[in-house]
């Protein structure tokens, strides 16, 4: 209580408003100074013969009593005002405490809840008395006991909980998933929990949906494309030129559908945080060569020359299938947005500890506004829409996600009428970086 007083003397604004501090601050100086000053005045009066000893004592007592009563009343009013504001704060806090749909509680390091808000009863079905009467661990699902004990031990050591999920058994026998945040303070742990049961169920549904779409769309597509291939192979007899042309249309469009299904599934996986890489050592010059070979029929059809420039082998630690998808997406875009007679160049090289892949076209280019939106889902450039260039607006979104999953980056440089360059950088494989520095040394 002395510390706030000292602080006050040091000229700091009043911070501690405890009742004790107010009493001490107001009454203690008065208790010392008041009798001393009044007694001194009485003595001076007596010596100058203004009044006798009897009157002097009576005056001393009367003045001291009046001043003390005034001081006490003044202090009491301050304390009343303080308590009123404190009660106001408490009722504000209690209103939020009751209003919160999230579970709020204070738990002791002895393993018991000390206070719980009404959301506990709403979510779990137990009354306050039931919740406070048993160790909280008894409400936790048995499979989550160990993890919960471990987390509580961490809290006891002073570590705050940012996110911890466990299951609680409700009074009606059902189970709810709770996601916790907690901060320890001495013997107490202040914690909030959110009921994430529905979110968990939604995440599971989304996973199941991905699985279902994946299976239910790809299985019929397998049949369509497989039998079509057999017919085109002549397995069901010779085809006329007209039949072959028509079946070619079926083939192209079923392939397009398949690609779309693949893109949507990949996006769903990325959104669900299930996108994972199957990494190994990949040599980019070879991979780029395969990509150019695969794209050559298309480039011939469009009348666009496609070149690969790659001086040395470049090794990266990567997911070969996904990285091939990056090459394919960028090269196929460059071809689509070039005109007959144009050139597209695929360059593979390295800069410091990174592999650099560039796809350069001398096509129509893009405005700055379009470049900004390039990586937005379902975005199509004005030209793509106007000239009905096939595409879904998902390719670059997926390309970027794949590059970023490889701890790399993608950027674009474009000028209208000049062309566009996409540049992808990914880290070199660790041993490839070493061999470079050895050469440099």
């Amino acid at each position: 209580m002395q510390i706030p007083m000292l602080r006050r003397r040091a000229g700091k604004p009043p911070e501690n408003r405890s009742a004790g501090a107010i009493v001490v601050r107001r009454l203690l100086p008065a208790a010392i100074v008041l009798p001393a000053v009044v007694a001194a005045i009485r003595l001076v009066g007596e010596r100058q013969g203004l009044y006798g000893t009897t009157v002097g004592v009576a005056l001393f007592a009367a003045v001291t009593i009046v001043l003390t009563v005034v001081l006490v009343l003044w202090t009491a009013r301050r304390i009343d005002a303080l308590e009123a504001s404190r009660a106001e704060l408490e009722s504000e806090r209690d209103r939020f405490y009751s209003l919160s749909p999230d579970l709020l509680c204070i738990a002791g390091t002895d393993g018991y809840f000390k206070r719980v808000n009404p959301a506990f009863t709403t979510v779990l079905g137990y009354s306050d008395e039931e919740l406070l009467s048993k160790p909280y661990l008894e409400f936790v699902h048995p499979d989550d006991h160990d993890a919960t004990v471990h987390e509580a031990d961490r809290n006891e050591l002073g570590v705050a909980t940012i996110r911890f999920e466990n299951r609680y058994a409700c009074k009606d026998g059902s189970v709810r998933w709770l996601s916790w945040r907690a901060v320890p303070a001495g013997e107490r742990i202040y914690a909030t929990a959110r009921d994430v049961t529905e979110l968990k169920a939604l995440a599971t549904m989304k996973d199941e949906f991905i699985g279902l779409v994946s299976h239910e769309l790809r299985t019929p597509l397998t049949s369509i494309r497989g039998y079509l291939e057999l017919v085109l192979e002549g397995e069901a007899g010779e085809l006329t030129e007209r039949q072959r042309t028509f079946l070619g249309v079926v083939d192209r469009n079923s392939e397009r559908l398949l690609r779309l299904v693949g893109d949507l599934l990949l996006l769903a996986q990325i959104d669900a945080g299930q996108f994972s890489l199957d990494t190994g050592s990949v040599e980019l010059r070879e991979l780029a060569g395969e990509c150019v070979e695969a794209a050559t029929p298309k480039s011939v059809e469009l009348g666009v020359a496609l070149h690969l420039t790659a001086a040395d082998a470049v090794f990266v630690e990567a997911d070969r299938v996904r990285l091939a998808q990056v090459f394919d997406n960028l090269v196929s875009n460059a071809l689509k947005f070039s005109s007959r007679g144009d050139e597209v160049e695929l360059r593979v090289g390295r800069r410091e500890d990174r592999a650099v892949i560039e796809v350069v076209d001398r096509g129509v280019g893009m405005s700055a506004a379009e470049q900004e939106q390039l990586f937005t889902r379902f975005f199509r450039s004005a030209r793509a829409s106007r000239e009905a260039i096939p595409g879904t607006g998902l390719g670059l979104v997926i390309t970027r996600a794949i590059v970023e999953a490889h701890r790399g980056g993608i950027e674009v440089e474009s000028a209208e009428g000049v062309g566009t360059t996409f540049r992808v950088e990914v880290p070199l494989a660790a041993d490839a970086v070493d061999s470079v520095s050895e050469v440099a040394a």
């Binding site: 991905i210 699985g211 994946s214 299976h215 790809r218 299985t219 019929p220 597509l221 397998t222 049949s223 494309r225 497989g226 039998y227 291939e229 057999l230 192979e233 397995e235 398949l258 693949g262 599934l265 990949l266 996986q269 299930q274 994972s276 199957d278």
Partner: protein, 136 residues
């Protein structure tokens, strides 16, 4: 009687989808394999134990015994005398590892082309012959 007597490799194909089953059968018969089909895991296992095929092409997701379960049973009963190729329409790559852990020799995602299927089966038979040669 060894089914391989006439030098034609026997392949057992199992998929609960009749179209896919037929497709795989035609794709392989067209290049000379003797193909037998089964519509679920139990039938595939029974057929494989009876015919002792060189290769089994199994769909992962089938009612009753799954492709993984049939693979495990085949490994227990026939050892490495049979090559197993799993087919799946799933895009989850965990499945690949799960299949290989069950003892499959290869894994292919649907859809696949006739060429991919035939190449894969040929590779598996090459491995099988190499394995036999190494043992002799």
């Amino acid at each position: 009687v060894s089914p391989a007597q006439d030098n034609r490799h026997v392949v057992v194909v199992a998929d609960d989808d009749a179209d896919i089953r037929g497709l795989v059968a035609v794709q392989l018969e067209a290049v000379g394999y003797e193909v037998h089909v089964a519509e679920d895991g139990e039938a595939a296992l029974a057929l494989a134990l009876e015919l002792r095929p060189s290769v089994c092409v199994l769909d992962v997701r089938m009612p009753g015994l799954s492709g993984y379960e049939v693979t495990r049973a085949l490994r227990t009963r026939l050892g490495d005398a049979v090559r197993v190729l799993l087919l799946s329409a799933s895009v989850e790559r965990d499945k690949v590892h799960e299949g290989l852990e069950a003892g499959a020799d290869a894994y292919m995602e649907k859809p696949f082309t006739a060429k991919e299927l035939r190449d894969r089966v040929r590779e598996l038979l090459g491995n099988r012959e190499a394995a036999w040669a190494a043992r002799c």
